[in-house]
Symmetry: C2
Subunit: 241 residues, 2 copies
């Protein structure tokens, strides 16, 4: 059954309009009495369509349940902005794999150049990709896309576990990815930084370490930037299955 994320207004009025209306009525060709799943604030409302008008539909809730497909902690991926449209795939895969927030950060070795205006448009497009992937994979919540900014514009104080996926630096420290993951607890707020294609610059490594990040190797294989986030999220999903 198709699942849609609704707003508090749509929840209160039991009325759906706009793009969601268009998708339900024109794309999915739903009819009166058809059932849909509406997701609001982590609760799934099994609902029946009771009225279809030109630009809106009314529904009534039949049942509600809490199916939790979420981690018991929050996971943010701080992703060095990659080349081309790789960020789209990273968001799709990461959403399926349970990420809570993705910050597409402009790092020194990111090739992309985006002025203020473009950043906002891009962010909105990426948020839409996250929404669609959330519907498809039946997430309870939609991952948040952070502002597309440099590393120095990000507030790291909300995170209590900060991991820097950086092979070279990890050799000098003694942090084991598995040990950190296994130690995650309920309501932890984890952020994992992954470099763009050329990796982190030395400045960036120093800066993130000054913000409390610990360097960690992701294993003995060399992963591309677009594979690293999937590896991390799969590992967390596997550990906390």
């Amino acid at each position: 059954m198709q699942r849609y994320f609704i707003t508090s207004e749509e929840k209160n009025t039991e009325l759906i309009t706009g793009e969601k209306y268009h998708h339900i009525v024109n794309v999915m060709r739903a009819k009166i009495n058809d059932e849909i799943e509406l997701s609001y604030d982590g609760v799934i409302y099994l609902s029946k369509i009771i009225e279809i008008n030109n630009a809106s539909l009314k529904y009534s809730v039949i049942d509600q349940y809490y199916f939790d497909s979420e981690f018991m902690f929050n996971v943010t991926i701080l992703q060095g902005y990659p080349k081309g449209d790789k960020i789209d795939d990273i968001i799709k895969h990461s959403t399926e794999l349970g990420v809570n927030k993705i910050i597409p950060a402009l790092m020194e070795r990111s090739i992309v150049k985006l002025d203020e205006n473009k950043r906002q448009n891009r962010k909105e497009r990426l948020q839409k990709i996250a929404l669609e992937a959330s519907m498809q994979s039946k997430r309870n919540v939609v991952p948040i896309i952070g502002d597309i900014v440099g590393l120095n514009k990000i507030d790291y104080s909300e995170y209590n576990i900060k991991i820097l996926a950086y092979e070279e630096e990890a050799k000098n420290e003694n942090n084991n990815f598995t040990t950190i993951i296994k130690s995650l607890k309920k309501n932890d707020n984890v952020i994992i930084a992954i470099g763009p294609e050329g990796g982190f610059s030395n400045n960036e490594v120093d800066y993130l370490k000054s913000k409390g990040f610990v360097a960690c190797s992701l294993g003995k294989r060399i992963l591309r930037t677009e594979t690293a986030s999937l590896y991390v999220l799969s590992a967390i999903g596997y550990e906390f299955l």
Copy 2:
């Protein structure tokens, strides 16, 4: 340093020609005395280029070592042939994540239609993608691309652990993905079957079960076909880091 896979002949003659020669000399613009890594049969030969001719180069081995980035068992992904060029990305990601063999199987719900001739060409193209991804991620071996065939043309007798990634069927059985993965031992030969976009047909599930596959859920989230293999391989990599 760039790593190339060499043949037994190239190993014996210490002479490289053809595409590899072209890549080393024309793409990477290597010069005499430059070092390259040559991989043969799981051993890495650190080599120096000693002569560059019009269509061949000679090298001599400086050092050899065995850097093992491989699993201690064999992992085959039996992948239902997906839409479009998704198979390319699956091969790239899976190669990075340590797969040993990928069988792109034509399942009932695979959309793609390929006649005999096209299958052979396609297989060769996919093998090339696996080779390039192996070089990039510094694998010791290149994953094998299996013949593009139906499920009834595959020999399952070589595998001792057979997993069917199928949420629905898993509900009726009591197999836990984590338990199976944790129990993997040296030299096991594992095959994991993943359906195409529409999933397995009932016939396919019955057929694979008759061949000894056990159904297993990959977790509480719904994964697309192109994400399932990455999840499985990441989980194995994480468990046996």
